[in-house]
Amino acid sequence: MQFVVKSVTASALFVPLRSIVISVILLMLGLTQVSASPVDTFEFKDERTKIRFQVLSKELRCPKCQNQNLADSNSKIAVDLRKTLYTLLQEGKTDQEIIDFMVYRYGDFVLYRPQLKKQTYVLWFGPIVIFLGFIIGVIWTLRRRGKAKASELSLSSNEQANLDDILNKK
Protein backbone atom coordinates (compact mmCIF):
# COMPACT_ATOMS: atom_id res chain seq x y z
CA MET A 1 0.00 0.00 0.00
CA GLN A 2 2.75 2.33 0.92
CA PHE A 3 4.52 1.57 -2.30
CA VAL A 4 1.49 2.57 -4.36
CA VAL A 5 1.18 5.85 -2.54
CA LYS A 6 4.83 6.52 -3.12
CA SER A 7 4.59 5.87 -6.81
CA VAL A 8 1.63 8.20 -7.08
CA THR A 9 3.48 11.05 -5.45
CA ALA A 10 6.48 10.29 -7.61
CA SER A 11 4.54 10.48 -10.83
CA ALA A 12 2.63 13.49 -9.55
CA LEU A 13 5.96 15.15 -9.07
CA PHE A 14 7.54 14.08 -12.30
CA VAL A 15 4.78 14.84 -14.74
CA PRO A 16 4.52 18.54 -13.97
CA LEU A 17 8.30 18.73 -13.83
CA ARG A 18 8.56 17.26 -17.28
CA SER A 19 5.90 19.56 -18.68
CA ILE A 20 7.65 22.51 -17.07
CA VAL A 21 10.91 21.50 -18.71
CA ILE A 22 9.17 21.13 -22.05
CA SER A 23 7.43 24.47 -21.79
CA VAL A 24 10.69 26.15 -20.76
CA ILE A 25 12.39 24.67 -23.81
CA LEU A 26 9.48 25.75 -25.97
CA LEU A 27 9.68 29.25 -24.53
CA MET A 28 13.40 29.37 -25.19
CA LEU A 29 12.82 28.29 -28.74
CA GLY A 30 10.13 30.90 -29.06
CA LEU A 31 7.66 28.31 -30.27
CA THR A 32 4.81 29.41 -28.06
CA GLN A 33 4.35 32.79 -29.57
CA VAL A 34 2.05 34.93 -27.48
CA SER A 35 0.44 37.58 -29.57
CA ALA A 36 -0.28 40.58 -27.41
CA SER A 37 -1.49 42.85 -30.15
CA PRO A 38 -5.01 44.10 -29.60
CA VAL A 39 -7.78 42.40 -31.49
CA ASP A 40 -10.35 44.38 -33.38
CA THR A 41 -13.14 42.80 -35.30
CA PHE A 42 -13.09 44.50 -38.65
CA GLU A 43 -14.80 43.02 -41.66
CA PHE A 44 -12.97 44.02 -44.81
CA LYS A 45 -14.52 44.11 -48.22
CA ASP A 46 -11.63 42.14 -49.70
CA GLU A 47 -8.25 40.63 -48.88
CA ARG A 48 -6.35 43.53 -50.43
CA THR A 49 -8.01 46.07 -48.16
CA LYS A 50 -7.18 43.90 -45.18
CA ILE A 51 -3.51 43.84 -46.13
CA ARG A 52 -3.51 47.58 -46.74
CA PHE A 53 -5.03 48.06 -43.29
CA GLN A 54 -2.31 45.95 -41.72
CA VAL A 55 0.47 47.77 -43.57
CA LEU A 56 -0.90 51.24 -42.81
CA SER A 57 -1.56 50.53 -39.16
CA LYS A 58 2.06 49.44 -38.85
CA GLU A 59 3.39 52.51 -40.60
CA LEU A 60 1.29 55.03 -38.74
CA ARG A 61 2.46 55.94 -35.31
CA CYS A 62 0.17 56.32 -32.35
CA PRO A 63 0.21 60.06 -31.54
CA LYS A 64 -0.01 59.54 -27.82
CA CYS A 65 2.35 56.67 -27.22
CA GLN A 66 5.67 57.85 -28.60
CA ASN A 67 7.02 54.56 -29.84
CA GLN A 68 4.21 52.30 -30.84
CA ASN A 69 2.40 52.05 -34.09
CA LEU A 70 -1.37 51.98 -34.41
CA ALA A 71 -1.38 48.20 -34.72
CA ASP A 72 0.51 47.65 -31.49
CA SER A 73 -1.05 50.18 -29.19
CA ASN A 74 -4.08 49.67 -27.05
CA SER A 75 -4.46 53.30 -26.04
CA LYS A 76 -7.78 54.97 -26.63
CA ILE A 77 -6.50 57.15 -29.41
CA ALA A 78 -4.93 54.20 -31.24
CA VAL A 79 -8.19 52.28 -31.07
CA ASP A 80 -10.06 55.31 -32.40
CA LEU A 81 -7.55 55.87 -35.17
CA ARG A 82 -7.68 52.23 -36.22
CA LYS A 83 -11.43 52.68 -36.55
CA THR A 84 -10.88 55.83 -38.59
CA LEU A 85 -8.34 54.05 -40.76
CA TYR A 86 -10.83 51.26 -41.33
CA THR A 87 -13.57 53.71 -42.29
CA LEU A 88 -11.29 55.58 -44.68
CA LEU A 89 -10.25 52.31 -46.34
CA GLN A 90 -13.84 51.17 -46.69
CA GLU A 91 -14.63 54.52 -48.28
CA GLY A 92 -12.09 53.68 -50.94
CA LYS A 93 -9.46 56.27 -50.05
CA THR A 94 -5.98 55.72 -51.44
CA ASP A 95 -2.97 55.15 -49.19
CA GLN A 96 -1.66 58.62 -49.95
CA GLU A 97 -5.02 60.22 -49.14
CA ILE A 98 -5.10 58.42 -45.81
CA ILE A 99 -1.54 59.46 -44.97
CA ASP A 100 -2.34 63.07 -45.90
CA PHE A 101 -5.47 62.92 -43.74
CA MET A 102 -3.45 61.81 -40.72
CA VAL A 103 -0.54 64.20 -41.32
CA TYR A 104 -2.91 67.18 -41.68
CA ARG A 105 -4.29 66.48 -38.20
CA TYR A 106 -1.42 64.98 -36.28
CA GLY A 107 1.65 66.22 -38.13
CA ASP A 108 4.68 64.39 -39.46
CA PHE A 109 4.97 62.69 -36.10
CA VAL A 110 2.45 60.03 -37.14
CA LEU A 111 4.67 58.74 -39.92
CA TYR A 112 7.28 56.16 -39.09
CA ARG A 113 8.71 56.69 -42.56
CA PRO A 114 9.20 60.46 -42.86
CA GLN A 115 8.23 62.09 -46.11
CA LEU A 116 10.94 63.43 -48.38
CA LYS A 117 11.00 67.19 -48.09
CA LYS A 118 13.42 69.99 -47.35
CA GLN A 119 13.40 69.48 -43.58
CA THR A 120 14.06 65.76 -43.95
CA TYR A 121 16.88 65.90 -46.52
CA VAL A 122 19.46 65.52 -43.76
CA LEU A 123 17.56 62.52 -42.43
CA TRP A 124 17.35 60.80 -45.80
CA PHE A 125 20.68 61.72 -47.37
CA GLY A 126 22.82 62.28 -44.26
CA PRO A 127 23.83 58.62 -43.90
CA ILE A 128 24.75 58.35 -47.58
CA VAL A 129 26.84 61.52 -47.37
CA ILE A 130 28.60 60.32 -44.22
CA PHE A 131 29.25 56.94 -45.83
CA LEU A 132 30.65 58.53 -48.99
CA GLY A 133 32.82 60.81 -46.87
CA PHE A 134 34.12 57.78 -45.02
CA ILE A 135 34.93 55.95 -48.28
CA ILE A 136 36.71 59.01 -49.68
CA GLY A 137 38.66 59.35 -46.43
CA VAL A 138 39.74 55.71 -46.55
CA ILE A 139 40.82 55.93 -50.19
CA TRP A 140 42.70 59.16 -49.51
CA THR A 141 44.54 57.73 -46.50
CA LEU A 142 45.42 54.52 -48.29
CA ARG A 143 46.81 56.43 -51.27
CA ARG A 144 48.87 58.68 -49.04
CA ARG A 145 50.22 55.71 -47.19
CA GLY A 146 51.10 53.97 -50.46
CA LYS A 147 52.95 57.04 -51.68
CA ALA A 148 54.78 57.41 -48.38
CA LYS A 149 55.88 53.78 -48.56
CA ALA A 150 57.11 54.15 -52.11
CA SER A 151 59.15 57.21 -51.27
CA GLU A 152 60.57 55.44 -48.21
CA LEU A 153 61.70 52.46 -50.25
CA SER A 154 63.19 54.31 -53.16
CA LEU A 155 66.46 56.13 -52.48
CA SER A 156 66.95 59.75 -53.16
CA SER A 157 69.53 60.62 -55.85
CA ASN A 158 72.05 61.56 -53.18
CA GLU A 159 71.63 58.28 -51.37
CA GLN A 160 71.89 56.38 -54.65
CA ALA A 161 75.14 58.16 -55.45
CA ASN A 162 76.50 57.28 -52.02
CA LEU A 163 75.46 53.68 -52.46
CA ASP A 164 77.09 53.53 -55.87
CA ASP A 165 80.27 54.95 -54.38
CA ILE A 166 80.36 52.28 -51.69
CA LEU A 167 79.68 49.51 -54.14
CA ASN A 168 82.20 50.77 -56.67
CA LYS A 169 84.93 51.07 -54.05
CA LYS A 170 84.87 47.36 -53.47
Partner: protein, 183 residues
Protein backbone atom coordinates in the same frame (compact mmCIF):
# COMPACT_ATOMS: atom_id res chain seq x y z
CA UNK B 1 46.72 71.91 -43.48
CA UNK B 2 48.03 69.00 -41.45
CA UNK B 3 47.41 70.89 -38.24
CA UNK B 4 43.79 71.47 -39.18
CA UNK B 5 43.31 67.79 -39.94
CA UNK B 6 44.57 66.90 -36.49
CA UNK B 7 41.82 68.99 -34.96
CA UNK B 8 39.01 67.40 -36.96
CA UNK B 9 38.24 64.68 -34.37
CA UNK B 10 38.12 67.28 -31.62
CA UNK B 11 35.81 69.50 -33.66
CA UNK B 12 33.53 66.56 -34.44
CA UNK B 13 33.49 65.59 -30.78
CA UNK B 14 32.56 69.10 -29.67
CA UNK B 15 29.79 69.33 -32.28
CA UNK B 16 28.37 65.95 -31.32
CA UNK B 17 28.66 66.86 -27.65
CA UNK B 18 26.78 70.12 -28.21
CA UNK B 19 24.04 68.26 -30.10
CA UNK B 20 23.61 65.61 -27.44
CA UNK B 21 23.82 68.13 -24.62
CA UNK B 22 20.96 70.05 -26.15
CA UNK B 23 19.03 66.82 -26.45
CA UNK B 24 19.22 66.37 -22.69
CA UNK B 25 16.93 69.33 -22.17
CA UNK B 26 14.36 68.56 -24.83
CA UNK B 27 11.04 67.21 -23.70
CA UNK B 28 10.25 64.12 -25.77
CA UNK B 29 6.63 64.27 -24.58
CA UNK B 30 6.09 67.72 -26.03
CA UNK B 31 4.19 67.26 -29.25
CA UNK B 32 3.68 70.18 -31.55
CA UNK B 33 0.20 70.27 -32.98
CA UNK B 34 -0.10 70.12 -36.73
CA UNK B 35 -3.19 72.33 -36.48
CA UNK B 36 -1.43 75.49 -35.38
CA UNK B 37 -1.93 78.22 -37.95
CA UNK B 38 -4.84 76.37 -39.50
CA UNK B 39 -8.48 77.43 -39.16
CA UNK B 40 -10.76 75.54 -36.82
CA UNK B 41 -12.56 73.02 -39.04
CA UNK B 42 -16.31 73.21 -39.57
CA UNK B 43 -18.40 70.82 -37.49
CA UNK B 44 -22.00 70.01 -36.66
CA UNK B 45 -22.41 68.41 -33.26
CA UNK B 46 -25.06 68.53 -30.56
CA UNK B 47 -24.84 70.57 -27.42
CA UNK B 48 -24.09 68.50 -24.34
CA UNK B 49 -26.98 69.93 -22.37
CA UNK B 50 -29.46 69.86 -25.24
CA UNK B 51 -29.22 67.11 -27.86
CA UNK B 52 -31.69 68.96 -30.10
CA UNK B 53 -29.41 71.93 -30.60
CA UNK B 54 -26.79 71.51 -33.31
CA UNK B 55 -23.65 73.56 -32.83
CA UNK B 56 -21.22 74.70 -35.47
CA UNK B 57 -18.01 76.65 -35.76
CA UNK B 58 -19.81 79.97 -35.78
CA UNK B 59 -21.37 79.30 -32.39
CA UNK B 60 -17.98 79.69 -30.74
CA UNK B 61 -18.31 83.40 -30.16
CA UNK B 62 -15.76 85.60 -28.50
CA UNK B 63 -12.54 87.25 -29.55
CA UNK B 64 -10.20 84.77 -27.94
CA UNK B 65 -11.76 81.34 -27.72
CA UNK B 66 -10.43 78.58 -25.52
CA UNK B 67 -11.65 75.13 -26.42
CA UNK B 68 -11.05 72.68 -23.63
CA UNK B 69 -11.20 68.97 -24.45
CA UNK B 70 -12.50 67.02 -21.49
CA UNK B 71 -14.15 63.74 -20.54
CA UNK B 72 -15.32 62.03 -17.41
CA UNK B 73 -12.88 59.14 -17.98
CA UNK B 74 -10.04 61.63 -17.82
CA UNK B 75 -8.55 61.86 -14.36
CA UNK B 76 -6.41 64.88 -15.05
CA UNK B 77 -9.51 66.76 -16.16
CA UNK B 78 -10.70 66.56 -12.59
CA UNK B 79 -7.44 68.07 -11.41
CA UNK B 80 -7.72 70.80 -13.99
CA UNK B 81 -11.34 71.65 -13.31
CA UNK B 82 -10.95 74.24 -10.48
CA UNK B 83 -8.34 76.09 -12.52
CA UNK B 84 -10.76 76.26 -15.42
CA UNK B 85 -13.28 77.91 -13.10
CA UNK B 86 -10.54 80.40 -12.18
CA UNK B 87 -9.55 81.33 -15.70
CA UNK B 88 -13.09 82.14 -16.74
CA UNK B 89 -12.66 85.21 -14.53
CA UNK B 90 -10.39 86.63 -17.26
CA UNK B 91 -12.76 88.76 -19.39
CA UNK B 92 -10.55 88.50 -22.46
CA UNK B 93 -11.23 84.83 -23.04
CA UNK B 94 -14.32 82.73 -23.63
CA UNK B 95 -14.13 79.12 -22.56
CA UNK B 96 -15.95 76.36 -24.41
CA UNK B 97 -15.85 72.65 -23.72
CA UNK B 98 -15.45 69.74 -26.06
CA UNK B 99 -16.79 66.67 -24.33
CA UNK B 100 -14.74 64.01 -26.04
CA UNK B 101 -15.87 60.38 -26.55
CA UNK B 102 -17.88 60.37 -23.38
CA UNK B 103 -21.27 59.37 -22.07
CA UNK B 104 -23.82 62.12 -21.92
CA UNK B 105 -25.33 61.21 -18.56
CA UNK B 106 -21.94 60.93 -16.90
CA UNK B 107 -20.81 64.22 -18.40
CA UNK B 108 -23.94 66.02 -17.24
CA UNK B 109 -23.50 64.62 -13.75
CA UNK B 110 -19.90 65.85 -13.74
CA UNK B 111 -20.91 69.40 -14.63
CA UNK B 112 -23.59 69.39 -11.96
CA UNK B 113 -21.23 68.09 -9.34
CA UNK B 114 -18.20 70.28 -10.06
CA UNK B 115 -19.82 73.40 -11.54
CA UNK B 116 -19.78 74.22 -15.21
CA UNK B 117 -16.97 76.53 -16.33
CA UNK B 118 -17.95 76.45 -19.99
CA UNK B 119 -20.28 78.73 -21.95
CA UNK B 120 -21.38 75.43 -23.43
CA UNK B 121 -19.92 72.03 -24.14
CA UNK B 122 -19.98 70.35 -27.52
CA UNK B 123 -20.97 66.70 -27.26
CA UNK B 124 -18.55 64.76 -29.46
CA UNK B 125 -19.50 61.19 -28.74
CA UNK B 126 -17.64 59.65 -31.70
CA UNK B 127 -14.64 61.95 -31.41
CA UNK B 128 -15.26 63.38 -34.88
CA UNK B 129 -14.24 66.97 -34.13
CA UNK B 130 -11.52 65.64 -31.87
CA UNK B 131 -10.08 63.75 -34.81
CA UNK B 132 -10.32 66.79 -37.05
CA UNK B 133 -8.27 68.91 -34.69
CA UNK B 134 -5.77 66.21 -33.87
CA UNK B 135 -6.78 65.49 -30.28
CA UNK B 136 -4.89 62.52 -28.89
CA UNK B 137 -6.10 62.57 -25.33
CA UNK B 138 -7.67 64.69 -22.68
CA UNK B 139 -7.27 67.25 -21.30
CA UNK B 140 -6.17 69.41 -24.18
CA UNK B 141 -6.80 73.10 -24.61
CA UNK B 142 -6.86 74.97 -27.90
CA UNK B 143 -6.53 78.72 -28.28
CA UNK B 144 -8.41 80.13 -31.25
CA UNK B 145 -7.86 83.77 -32.15
CA UNK B 146 -10.29 86.41 -33.39
CA UNK B 147 -9.79 85.33 -37.01
CA UNK B 148 -10.72 81.71 -36.27
CA UNK B 149 -7.15 80.41 -36.53
CA UNK B 150 -5.87 77.85 -34.02
CA UNK B 151 -2.91 79.46 -32.31
CA UNK B 152 -2.03 76.94 -29.66
CA UNK B 153 -2.70 73.45 -28.44
CA UNK B 154 -1.75 72.62 -24.90
CA UNK B 155 -1.85 68.93 -24.01
CA UNK B 156 -2.16 68.27 -20.31
CA UNK B 157 -3.91 69.85 -17.37
CA UNK B 158 -3.91 73.59 -16.88
CA UNK B 159 -2.86 74.99 -13.52
CA UNK B 160 -1.73 78.42 -12.35
CA UNK B 161 1.84 77.93 -13.50
CA UNK B 162 0.87 76.60 -16.91
CA UNK B 163 -1.69 79.35 -17.35
CA UNK B 164 0.84 82.07 -16.65
CA UNK B 165 3.63 80.56 -18.66
CA UNK B 166 1.81 79.07 -21.63
CA UNK B 167 -1.38 81.02 -22.07
CA UNK B 168 -1.11 84.57 -20.77
CA UNK B 169 1.74 85.64 -23.11
CA UNK B 170 -0.20 84.35 -26.12
CA UNK B 171 -3.39 86.08 -24.97
CA UNK B 172 -1.45 89.32 -24.65
CA UNK B 173 -0.06 88.86 -28.17
CA UNK B 174 -3.49 88.22 -29.66
CA UNK B 175 -4.91 91.21 -27.75
CA UNK B 176 -2.20 93.36 -29.29
CA UNK B 177 -2.99 92.02 -32.76
CA UNK B 178 -6.66 92.82 -32.22
CA UNK B 179 -5.78 96.35 -31.11
CA UNK B 180 -3.53 96.83 -34.14
CA UNK B 181 -6.17 95.48 -36.49
CA UNK B 182 -8.78 97.82 -35.07
CA UNK B 183 -6.69 100.97 -35.29
Amino acid sequence: MKKIIRFIPLILFVLLGALLYRGLFLNPQAMPSAMIGKPLPEFALPRLKDDQQVLGRDDLKGEIVLLNVWATWCIQCKYEHPYLLDITADPRITLYGLNFTDERSAALRWLKQYKDPYVFSIFDEQGALGLDIGVFGAPETFVIDHTGIIRKRFAGPINDKVWQKEFLPLIDTIEMEIAQGAS
